[in-house]
């Protein structure tokens, strides 16, 4: 039995300890805000925050997160009003919206590490997150807006 802490709550897991955290979150715990996009840490749709760092849940196993604090989009802010989330809404960023939770988690992690990122730092930090709808211009602007106050 493995015990892991997701959004402050303890969760038990008695299955394969190598199960990717992504599928544990989505299929076993029911936190479906973390999305599958590639399974190989190529697209960032499954980004969660572990100990203040953006992590791809698709290549992180459940056993890897024992003793660490995992935050998913559901736990980012109690009312969904994290500055990044608010900036996202203010600029009407999403199109289909599927990759957006991963983008928001990546943006939130960036601002924890670097509250005032430069233009290039935003573009670089967000480059691991693919948006096939191509909302990049607004993603970049929303991260900047969140960093300067919403």
């Amino acid at each position: 039995m493995i015990k892991v802490k997701i959004n402050g709550q303890e969760q038990n897991w008695d299955g394969d300890p190598d199960l990717p955290l992504l599928w544990f979150l989505r299929d076993e715990v029911g936190l479906t805000g973390t999305k599958y996009g590639c399974g190989q840490a190529l697209c960032g749709s499954c980004t969660v925050i572990i100990d203040k760092q953006a992590v791809r849940a698709c290549i992180t196993s459940v056993s890897d997160v024992v003793g660490r604090d995992v935050t998913t989009i559901e736990g980012l802010h109690p009312t969904g009003d994290h500055p990044v989330q608010k900036a996202w809404r203010q600029l009407n960023v999403p199109q289909c919206g599927y990759c957006q939770t991963g983008q928001i988690m990546q943006g939130a992690a960036l601002l924890m590490d670097n509250p005032k990122p430069s233009h290039d730092q935003i573009r670089e930090a967000m480059a691991g997150n693919i948006c096939r709808c191509g909302a990049y211009q607004r993603i970049e602007n929303a991260v900047r807006l969140a960093s300067t106050g919403v």
Binding site: T32, T72, G134
Partner: protein
């Protein structure tokens, strides 16, 4: 037969192909080329927002204009409006209900949107494709809203015992100005429901000057909060009690079959519960599943791990030799010989012979995969002779039909719940993944979710075709273009429905080939044969992508050869402002729209070129290593021109500092979503131009994920995209937005690269062609 007058038997084009014995002639006949095609008479003058003809009525099940179906009002005043089209990022789930709210005078903050299940008899056509939703539904949604308003007003007038003409709905209440009395929509709901539904003819639509929402652009999409908090439900997010998780190993070659499999190791994987064969259909079979071996598990991760452990022997079948290198050579060979003539004006052959100079370009575009961020996924729950589906499908009605047919149960017994779509781009118009889930649920007697991995998506989808476009332009001694011959060779989408289809279907011919708007005396379009060896399907903007790339590149090539400005060259070729004569174009399809309402209007085409040139600063001086390129294209009956600025460093690294796009999409609803679609189209255009390439070897797709099928990321996306929307005339019908932004991007980019470097790229993707 006339396909457009017999919509009941048809669903989009797949049905067209089924009604005829498919040989190359009969496809054309079945699709209306040879048959009599009645056009709506051109409407010369229309009063503001009066009804205009669209092709909506010719879609399966047409439109339903009934407020009782689309609108309900609770006693607390909350108005619920049905969204009956699929939301894949265009904003349609917001914009169509917004039209109803506008017309019925509802306050948008008190409106909720409810997604309709697949039921076309009730809601009308639900095929969310072809950039059709706003153009087909602006008027029906206005009529629905006006009907609801009129019923509310009638109920209030009765309550007060005053003539209905004395009351007026305004911002969620009905007001009697003379007495100052007011009643909220909630208070009137029960009585209004008893009123008879007024006839469309007598409806009074709002004067556009009174619009609060339409065309204003300050409305966020209804799912905005849920999307940013992770609560939005996509197909992949459905979880049912007792649900099993499945992934499927499918034949690696299209048309291949399962020979044998060994599941022993897969069954040893923790969490795997069962391994079983999934029925497949012989290729081509429209959207039926490919078959293969399914691994059933307690979660998706276990199912994937179990699938990795399967040992499978496949019979590759007839497409086992498909090889992209050899295939390209065969396309080139075909394009260099005469092919089926699909449009002929004057005598291009003779004019090319007599021309002072002939410029020839061969333009290649490989297969592309959609790679929507949400790969195909579906949940099905089959109980006895009933089936319930939850899936991100563009065609809810088509899914219902196909699932019912596959399971052999009545359509009425199938419920298709449409979730949000994590991108669609045409992939999710094909419901194979929903059929797979239904088959597995039936077999297992439990709800099943079938999840496609990214590799499944790239390797087993319905790819954008591969194409070779060859254009020869003949110039007289003054540099005037006197001849144009365009040969377009590409496997057709029709091949996914009918074995042996080798010529473009009319809807493909009409995407940038035979609808060429240029004013050239001798113009010929040909379509040599091309056989398909994989499943070909619709991809956002479809055949317009290779055609616009070829045509708009050639324009710039002619400009360079004759030392003229590319924009001036473009305007010269478009020629005089006019409605292109349909009998010369011979495009009976016209995106399914009557030519009277949606002609090829070169004045509008010229206008977007001039607008983007003006706003985008065409001709401005740019730093060394930078260049500007321009392209224009009409598709989905909209007009779009794009200027791309590129910067190329001395190592050949390409960046895009700026994009400017002008769009004329007629009357519009939510300009903010038009901008987002155009911003996104630039990214998709850049992705396909820079990287997009699916190749085959030994019949198998050689790519699998975003490492070998890359798309543009933020660090290489344009720094800024400006969008200019042409203000519509008072009576300009709405036209497409979702797709038409894509086609002009690649040629504008390629023309900009030429301007910056003198290097002319005729084969996409760009890949390493710019590296020294």
């Amino acid at each position: 037969m006339n396909i457009l007058t017999n919509p009941k038997k048809l669903r989009g084009f797949e049905r067209h192909l089924k009604v005829e014995n498919v040989s190359r002639r009969s496809i054309l006949k079945g699709l209306g080329i040879a048959g009599g095609f009645a056009l709506a008479a051109p409407v010369m003058s229309r009063p503001a927002f009066a009804a205009y003809e669209t092709g909506a009525g010719a879609m399966p099940h047409g439109t339903v204009v009934d407020p009782r179906v689309f609108v309900s009002i609770a006693p607390d005043g909350i108005v619920t409006i049905i969204g009956h089209r699929a939301e894949m990022g265009t904003g349609v789930r917001t914009s169509l209900p917004l039209i109803v709210a506008e017309e019925m005078e509802a306050d948008w903050s008190r409106v909720r949107v409810q997604q309709a299940p697949g039921n076309e008899a009730k809601y009308g056509n639900q095929d969310t494709d072809g950039s059709r939703s706003t153009r087909h539904y602006l008027m029906p949604m206005r009529q629905i809203g006006a009907s609801a308003r009129s019923m509310l007003e009638a109920a209030a007038a009765k309550r007060w015992g005053v003539p209905a003409t004395e009351v007026k709905a305004r911002n969620h209440e009905v007001v009697h100005a003379a007495s100052g009395r007011k009643l909220g929509f909630g208070e009137l709901a029960a009585d209004a429901a008893k009123e008879s539904v007024p006839g469309i003819e007598g409806l009074k639509l709002k004067d556009p000057k009174d619009f609060r929402y339409l065309g204003k652009g300050q409305i966020g999409i209804v799912d905005l909060k849920d999307i940013t908090t992770g609560k939005a439900q996509y197909g992949a997010d459905i979880r049912l009690p007792g649900m099993k998780y499945a992934v499927i190993a499918r034949p690696p070659v299209t048309g291949g079959k399962l020979k044998s499999f060994d599941a022993a190791d897969a069954m040893k994987v923790s969490g795997v519960e069962k391994v079983l064969e999934v029925k497949g259909w012989p290729w081509p079979s429209k959207f039926q599943p490919l078959g293969g071996v399914a691994v059933i598990a307690r979660n998706t991760g276990a199912a994937i791990k179990g699938r990795d452990a399967l040992k499978i022997v496949w019979d590759d079948g007839a497409n086992g030799k498909y090889d992209s290198v050899a295939y390209r050579a065969s396309l080139e060979e075909a394009a260099r010989k005469p092919g089926l003539v699909v449009r002929k004006e004057g005598d291009a052959e003779a004019a090319l012979k007599s021309a002072d100079k002939v410029i020839t370009g061969e333009y290649y575009l490989p297969h592309l995969a959609h790679v929507s961020m949400e790969p195909p996924v579906a949940v099905a729950d089959v109980k006895g002779d009933r089936c319930e589906i939850w899936a991100p499908v563009q065609s809810a009605g088509g899914t219902r039909e196909d699932v019912a047919k596959t399971l052999g149960i009545p359509e009425a017994n199938v419920t298709v719940n449409v979730t949000l779509l994590g991108g669609g781009f045409g992939r999710k118009s094909k419901c194979d993944f929903a059929i797979e889930a239904a088959l597995l649920s039936k077999e297992l007697g439990a709800p099943v979710k079938v999840q496609w991995t990214r590799e499944d998506d790239v390797r087993h989808g319905f790819l954008h075709t591969v194409s070779l476009e060859r254009i020869e332009a003949g110039l007289d001694k003054n540099g005037k273009v006197i001849a144009w011959r365009h040969r377009s060779v590409a496997p057709t989408i029709a091949s996914t429905f009918a074995a042996g289809a080798k010529h473009a279907a009319p809807f493909e011919l009409g995407m940038g080939l035979i609808d060429n708007p240029f004013e050239i005396a001798n113009l010929q379009c040909e379509n040599p044969e091309a056989a398909a060896h994989t499943r070909i399907g619709w991809f956002r903007a479809v055949s317009n992508i290779p055609r616009a790339f070829a045509v708009q590149s050639m324009v710039a090539e002619i400009a360079a050869a004759t030392k003229r400005d590319p924009k001036d060259m473009l305007l010269e070729l478009i020629g005089s402002p006019r409605l292109v004569n349909l009998s010369s174009v011979k495009d009976p399809w016209n995106y399914g729209e009557p030519y009277g309402s949606y002609p090829i209007d070169t004045a509008r085409l010229r206008k977007v070129v001039e607008l983007v040139a003006d706003k985008g600063g065409w001709g401005r001086s740019v730093p060394k290593g930078h260049g500007l390129g321009i392209a224009v294209h009409r598709s989905f009956v909209s007009y779009i021109a794009t200027i791309v600025e590129v910067a190329i460093d001395d190592k050949g690294k390409l960046t895009v500092p700026r994009v400017d796009t002008a769009i004329d999409c007629g009357t519009y609803v939510n300009p903010e979503r038009i901008e987002s679609q155009i911003e996104g189209a630039a990214i998709m255009g850049l992705s396909l131009a820079k990287y997009g390439e699916i190749t085959f070897k030994d019949g198998k797709v050689q790519q699998g994920n975003f490492d070998d099928f890359p798309v543009i990321r933020l660090d290489e996306s344009p720094l800024v995209t400006h969008v200019y929307i042409v203000p519509p005339g008072p009576d300009t019908p709405p036209s497409g937005v979702g797709e038409p932004g894509v086609p002009p991007f690649a040629p504008a980019l390629i023309n900009a690269i030429f301007a910056a470097t003198g290097k002319r790229i005729r084969s996409l993707p760009i890949g390493k062609q710019l590296e020294a």
